[in-house]
């Protein structure tokens, strides 16, 4: 019995409790507001830093594809489109696989191998971004160029591009691998949260496993799934290092699946070190744009997740 007691042993000294509790409350309050203050400060700093560029170029900053540090003319349309397209493609690739992993692990997988698979999926999340970038540049891109892009590029159209594997598509593949563990983990938790009665009821009605999953279980956690997808999307938007290595870093508007492009984060990472004046301001404005896009996506995700009752 006494083993469970120590957890509340501080209650034994009521005098100190009066002192400790308010302090504890303030410390917790401070911890909570500190982050908010940092967030607020970040927005203000981005606005101040990016203002010269935003004021000079106005709306054309968002619609122009000219990015010319020499003449100090900056338009972010290329990086904005590159960011959204690469993240969207990554999502399209990762979604079915993540869904498959989660469904298999929670519905069909024998207990003995469910844990190892889950752990390995989560290990993927622990690999540093730069390792993915290096692997993408030195291993995946050459392989992709030789075996997939070269045969396909003869078709032209959306497959046109220099066959060296440094393009928006390979960047999306790397991104997909990176967001996969997060999405799979959230999906798994969602399916686990479904009361067993729901599943049993579905089977009780004579549903096949396929019908049970697609007609009952997935609709049951629908909103949560959408929220998890948005979280993955948010992560893909801001991913920097791996993408920088493999996307080809061209500021031009991407014209095909295999054309080199750039993202907001990769442009900042590439150019901030040597930038000054209007160039630096334009890069900070890119940061603000990325912040706003990510914030909007995550806000929608949170809202969808919160409307889902587990």
């Amino acid at each position: 019995m006494s083993v469970t007691r120590p957890a509340v042993s501080t209650d034994q000294t009521p005098v100190r409790r009066d002192v400790v509790d308010p302090i504890f409350r303030y410390v917790a309050f401070f911890a909570a507001t500190l982050l908010l203050a940092v967030l607020g400060g970040l927005i203000v700093a981005l606005l101040i830093g990016g203002w010269p560029a935003l004021a000079k170029f106005g709306p054309s900053f968002f619609f122009s594809t000219t990015w010319d540090p020499v003449r100090e003319v900056f338009g972010a349309a290329g990086p904005i489109v590159g960011t959204v397209v690469s993240s969207f493609l990554a999502l399209a690739m990762a979604l079915p696989i993540a869904l498959g992993i989660a469904i298999f692990l929670t519905q069909f997988c024998p207990r003995a191998i469910a844990q190892p698979i889950a752990v390995m999926t989560e290990l993927l999340a622990g690999i540093p971004s730069i390792v993915y970038g290096m692997w993408g540049l030195f291993v995946f891109a050459p392989w992709f160029a030789k075996h997939i892009q070269t045969p396909l590029s003869a078709l032209g159209g959306i497959f046109a591009g220099v066959p060296n594997g440094a393009n928006i598509f390979t960047a999306s593949v790397i991104l997909a691998v990176m967001i996969l563990p997060y999405m799979a983990a959230v999906f798994r938790e969602l399916f686990r949260s479904i009361p067993p009665q729901v599943r049993e009821a579905a089977f009780g009605m004579g549903a096949t496993p396929f019908e049970a999953v697609t007609r009952v279980l997935v609709p049951y956690v629908q909103k949560g799934l959408v929220g998890a997808v948005m979280l993955g999307f948010g992560r893909a938007l801001g991913e920097t290092m791996a993408v920088t290595f493999i996307i080809g870093n061209s500021h031009a508007f991407p014209t095909s699946l295999f054309s080199s492009s750039s993202t907001l984060a990769s442009t900042i990472a590439n150019e901030f070190g040597e930038a000054s004046g209007m160039h630096a301001s334009a890069l900070i404005a890119l940061g603000l744009v990325l912040f706003l896009i990510t914030f909007a996506v995550l806000a929608v995700a949170r809202w969808l997740l919160s409307t889902q009752r587990y």
């Binding site: 000219t66 540090p69 003449r71 050459p142 060296n164 920088t244 590439n270 070190g273």
Partner: protein
């Protein structure tokens, strides 16, 4: 008794002052990433002898200059020399430390290292996208007897802002009028075409992977086995091989005496053996040092490096400055003062 003691203490103090120019025990610098390995190596060696530790942060040339202007570091380092008027405005003085060269590299079937010859103007046309095939008549005319395939040319450039790009684009702007008017020269430019690799590694990897590609890297990366570097025509009409000798030839033939503020780009120098895309990297310090000891330590550190650092620089594929340039720079160090007195007194010739 007490008075006597005070007098002795004062005298001792005066004596210590008059000895003067004692270096501070730590100095800090920040800037260019290109020379960072050699600055760190020198700092190690210098600390062993003088007990002065030099902390260098390789944050990039632009950031280094910013930190120097904010006075958070004792010296700044930049791959891009500061213009004389800007030096004047900010009360700064700059001097070169080591050199390097930028070398175009290609990946064309059947072309060996050093086999392909180009001129600056042709290089500009390639990077502008005006020449799109390797068997273009202009390239063939310059390379009689070389079997050039009709492969499409893929241009690879640096994606990150860098001193390497600055040297390369400045050279193209000088050699190719259209490049100068359409693109210009800077750490990062609006590349008319091609794809960007991050760092020298990134460019080298893309060139290696892409048949028919051309890129440019620092000499150390071009030197790696099997990399097909390109020979460039210099001002004297020669095609020297890139390397320590041809970089040194560029520095030796440069007109340092008539370069106010040491503002000099070693591009396209007149020497017979001069490699056309050579560049020095620079150190910036305030002419008027707030603390004499800091200024002394910085200059003594680079004095030591000029004296003892050539071997370790060469080991890391940097090219030391020619002796004549070092002597000239040492003589200029008397410009760096604190309260009107030079912080550096020459101990070497």
């Amino acid at each position: 008794m007490l008075k006597k003691l005070i007098a002795i203490a004062l005298l001792a103090g005066l004596a210590a002052c008059s000895q003067g120019n004692k270096p501070a025990s730590t100095v800090s610098g920040a800037g260019a990433t290109f020379p960072a390995p050699v600055y760190l190596k020198w700092a190690e060696g210098y600390k062993g002898e003088s007990k002065v530790s030099v902390n260098y942060n390789s944050v990039g040339s632009g950031a280094g200059v910013k930190q120097l202007l904010a006075k958070t570091v004792d010296f700044g380092a930049s791959d891009k020399p500061m213009k004389p008027e800007d030096l004047e405005k900010n009360g700064l003085y700059q001097f070169p430390t080591v050199m390097g060269g930028v070398v175009p590299v290609v990946n064309i079937a059947g072309i060996h290292p050093g086999q392909l010859k180009l001129t600056g103007a042709l290089l500009g046309d390639i990077f502008l996208g005006k020449i799109t095939k390797w068997n273009d008549p202009a390239i063939v005319a310059l390379n009689p007897g070389v079997n050039l395939p009709g492969t499409a040319i893929t241009v690879v450039h640096r994606s990150d802002g860098s001193g390497t790009s600055f040297l390369f684009t400045t050279y193209l702007a000088a050699e190719n009028a259209e490049w100068s008017s359409k693109v210009g020269a800077s750490d990062a430019v609006n590349w008319p075409l091609g794809l960007g690799g991050k760092g020298n590694d990134g460019v080298a990897a893309f060139v290696k992977q892409t048949e028919g590609s051309i890129g440019y890297v620092e000499y150390a990366y071009a030197k790696k086995n099997g990399t097909a570097f390109v020979l460039l025509q210099n001002k004297a009409g020669q095609f020297p091989a890139p390397g320590a000798d041809s970089f040194a030839a560029a520095a030796a033939s440069a007109d340092w005496a008539n370069a106010p503020g040491n503002y000099i780009l070693l591009l396209d120098q007149p020497g017979e053996q001069a490699w056309p895309i050579t560049g020095a990297t620079f150190i910036l310090v305030y002419k008027d040092q707030k603390t004499a000891a800091k200024g002394t330590a910085v200059l003594q550190y680079f004095d030591w490096a000029y004296q003892n650092g050539d071997a370790s620089a060469a080991e890391l594929d940097y090219v030391p400055m020619p002796a004549a340039v070092k002597t000239m720079v040492r003589a200029q160090w008397s410009q760096v003062t604190s309260e009107g007195k030079p912080v550096y007194t020459s101990t070497n010739k």
